[in-house]
């Protein structure tokens, strides 16, 4: 398979680009909701439009009412989301939760997927238990109780936790905290009693929660996939989510880079356009090359994931790490090359810096993933 978008994918990219630049623009969405101190951090109206466009359920199988598309397609949408800093629950609902639901029972799929496909329902995933991504260690416990389970523990930085209609929770049903096995995934509905959220607004104006599970009673049919055997499914979710976050990072990079290169062609100092200074030209050219490489790695990872390749997991980490490095460079150079105006809230470049910072942490930063590349490579 060639490493570029085929005709159908290029058409999807056009559609997504137009839609996001228009409906999902910084002015219409990010600034709009931020300036109103929105408690969700995104607009449900736009999320409904994601449903109408088919985006919300793009990874859901056709048999379940979705489009049955792959990660390359989801990445196309995410790149435009990144470019426009469009706040939405797409990554947690349409990528992470949708991937988890590939293994869910017919009953669970029937209960939760229609609302996802239509863009009416919002889903979150509760994986991390600290400030750094460490999915290898899961201490939140689900003990057998009657026909079901009793969930106890605390999850941190659950993106969209407070607005979620359902949260996919990774909990330990067997073994010790650091064991790989003994993990089970649960679909926990918003009204589950004993679940409480402590909401936090993050630097990029997105909303997360620290969520406590205080003996939450769950039916046996809340289990997604196999009891005790959830590590593999969790791994697939993480690979999908990391590829998705990496695609969004590439969008952030390209958005910030385009803005910056435009600025170099407008701003005059010393009687010249600042883009004439070689010191800035070289930095912009270096940035371009890093962003191109990151984008290639991300598309490759998506293709491998879609093809079920055994290399997909390694490449997902390569993609997340490389996209993180490139986006970090793009936003730092972006602010610097804008000079004082880059520090103002009125100007958008700073918003890219904030979004990049949050995306960089999500599902593991470049250090986590470089280390994972080393481990998977055998050193």
């Amino acid at each position: 398979m060639p490493l570029y978008h085929d005709d159908d994918q290029a058409m999807l990219a056009d559609t997504a680009r137009q839609f996001m630049a228009d409906e999902g623009s910084i002015k219409n969405q990010l600034r709009h909701w931020r300036d109103r101190e929105c408690k969700d951090g995104f607009g449900h109206g736009l999320w409904g439009q994601f449903g109408e466009m088919g985006f919300a359920g793009m990874l859901v199988d056709e048999a379940d009412g979705g489009l049955g598309m792959g990660h390359v397609e989801a990445g196309i949408v995410l790149e435009e989301i990144g470019r426009n800093l469009t706040p939405s629950p797409f990554l947690t609902s349409s990528v992470l939760a949708a991937t988890a639901f590939k293994d869910a029972s017919a009953e669970l799929r029937g209960r939760w997927l229609p609302g996802l496909v239509s863009g009416e329902k919002v889903y979150a995933v509760a994986l991390d238990e600290g400030a750094k991504h460490r999915p290898e260690r899961i201490t939140t416990r689900a003990e057998r109780s009657g026909n079901g389970f009793r969930l106890t523990g605390e999850k941190t930085f659950v993106l969209h936790g407070a607005s979620a209609d359902m949260i996919v929770v990774a909990a330990r049903t067997a073994g010790a905290d650091d064991d790989a096995e003994g993990i089970t995934l649960f679909a926990v509905p918003r009204d589950a009693s004993g679940m409480s959220h402590d909401a936090v607004r993050l630097v990029d104006s997105s909303m997360a929660t620290h969520t406590k599970f205080d003996g939450v009673e769950l039916d046996g049919d809340a289990v997604i996939g196999e009891v005790d055997g959830g590590r593999e499914l969790l791994g697939r979710m993480l690979d999908a989510g990391r590829c998705g976050a990496a695609a969004e990072s590439v969008g952030v990079s390209r958005g910030a880079m385009d803005m910056t290169v435009d600025y170099l062609k407008q701003r005059k100092q010393f009687g010249r356009l600042i883009g004439e200074f070689q010191a800035l030209q070289h930095r912009a050219a270096h940035l371009y090359s890093e962003v191109e490489i990151a984008r290639a790695a991300v598309i490759k990872a998506q293709q491998l994931l879609d093809g079920g390749s055994e290399n997909a997991s390694l490449m997902a980490s390569v993609a997340k790490a490389k996209a993180g490095k490139a986006a970090g460079l793009a936003v730092r150079e972006g602010v610097q090359m804008h000079g004082g105006i880059g520090m103002t809230d009125e100007y958008d470049i700073g918003l890219y810096m904030k979004r990049d910072r949050a995306l960089a942490e999500f599902l593991g930063d470049q250090y986590y993933h470089a280390n994972r590349v080393a481990e998977l490579s055998g050193y």
Partner: protein, 395 residues
């Protein structure tokens, strides 16, 4: 042409079988030194029977230049087929059967600018490894600012009389012919250069090897003293050689970038850690972290190489993209060799010991410093990206 998925799968199976039958095990070992590379040419000598066998089988099949048309010595493979062949060769670690400036540089330029007669004549020679070419671009006063070159060809009726000096001419002392930039109009900077082809055995051509910091001497000063070049030995148009020169540089940069994969894009952390362990050495955690960061960059760059080649084959790549590839690929390769040295420790310093294959690590490390100079420096690549891709002003 076989481009449907099923046809390509058939082609893959055939290719695998052909490689199995024709690529000897010795030719699947990594290249260890210069002698492992077969460059062809009048004075070519095979290092081993295996090398000869692999070369001859490849020539017969058109696989020294697989995507060139059959009538010029290639196999006429489609982009998708050529990619399959590349992948299958990489899978078994097959060495290129023939390496040459003819394949990487002159060939593509002739395919684009050459007359039918030139293509049949020169391309077949290149494909069969009969003539070894060298590149006469740089001069003592004209490196990055190549277009300022001074070597002059005076019109003498049916031939030019060429006088001047080239420098850094790689393998000039071993080459049979040269493709050479010669000024034929002193009043016109860009439209006063002719892209000439001539025999290095011509009277008046002499070379003087230059010793490099690696201790090797792969390139020369090249002198032209009243060299007669027949008037039909040029590519493109007289005085329009700069167009050919630039087109060729695109291919040269693509080649130096290592976009085609192989050793140049592989991850290195695991192998270096194992190698250190074999000697009872351990790598510091901070060095391990550097290796991990490098591997991320290398594996990502390998994807870029694949993407670039896929796009270039169907005309989707930006025409200036080889400059980006060259910049990124060569900077990465320099970093790779810094890490070889760091992980190798003092053992990597040995200059001529048998254990290090004659100082292979140290010499290789020094050699890579040229990667970001040869074929256009990194700074010049960044200039080109800024100007042609980012469209920045006044660049």
């Amino acid at each position: 042409m076989a481009d449907s998925t099923a046809d390509l799968e058939t082609f893959r199976q055939e290719t695998r079988a052909w490689l199995d039958a024709n690529c000897p095990p010795e030719m699947r070992e990594p290249v260890r030194d210069e002698e492992d590379v077969f460059w062809g040419g009048r004075n070519a000598r095979f290092k081993s029977d295996a090398q000869r066998q692999w070369f001859e089988a490849s020539v017969a099949k058109g696989y020294t230049v697989p995507s060139w048309p059959k009538e010029y010595g290639g196999a006429g493979l489609s982009p998708a087929e050529a990619k399959v062949l590349r992948e299958e060769m990489a899978r078994i670690g097959a060495r290129p059967p023939l390496s040459s400036f003819g394949i990487w540089m002159l060939g593509p330029a002739l395919l684009h600018f050459g007359t039918e007669e030139q293509k049949r004549h020169y391309l077949n020679q290149i494909a069969r490894g009969e003539i070894r070419w060298c590149q006469g671009y740089s001069e003592p006063g004209s490196g990055s600012d190549l277009v300022s070159l001074q070597t002059y060809g005076e019109d003498a009726g049916d031939h030019w009389v060429v006088n001047g000096q080239k420098i850094w001419t790689s393998y000039a002392d071993q080459a049979d012919w040269i493709f050479c930039l010669v000024r034929t109009d002193k009043t016109n900077k860009y439209q006063g250069i002719t892209f000439m082809l001539f025999d290095m055995a011509s009277e008046g051509v002499s070379t003087k090897p230059i010793l490099l910091i690696s201790g090797n001497s792969p390139f020369c000063e090249t002198f032209f003293d009243n060299v007669k070049v027949p008037k039909d030995q040029f590519v493109g148009e007289v005085n329009r050689g700069w167009d050919v020169a630039k087109y060729l540089l695109g291919h040269e940069r693509e080649m130096i970038s290592g976009a085609g994969g192989g050793d140049r894009t592989a991850a290195i952390g695991a192998a270096l850690t194992r190698a250190a362990g074999k000697h009872g050495d351990t790598l510091d955690p901070v060095l391990r972290a550097e290796l991990a960061q490098f591997d991320v960059d290398a594996l990502a760059y390998a994807c870029m190489g694949e993407k670039f080649l896929d796009e270039a084959k169907v005309g989707k790549a930006h025409p200036a993209q080889p400059n980006m590839m060259k910049y990124a690929g060569t900077e990465l390769n320099k970093r790779r060799h810094e890490l070889f040295m760091a992980a190798g420790g003092s053992r990597a310093l040995e200059w001529d010991s048998e254990a290090t294959g004659g100082g292979k690590t140290a010499r290789g490390w020094l050699r890579t410093k040229a990667n970001s100079i040869e074929g256009g420096t990194s700074e010049v690549m960044l200039n080109v990206i800024a100007k042609r891709i980012l469209d920045l002003p006044g660049a």
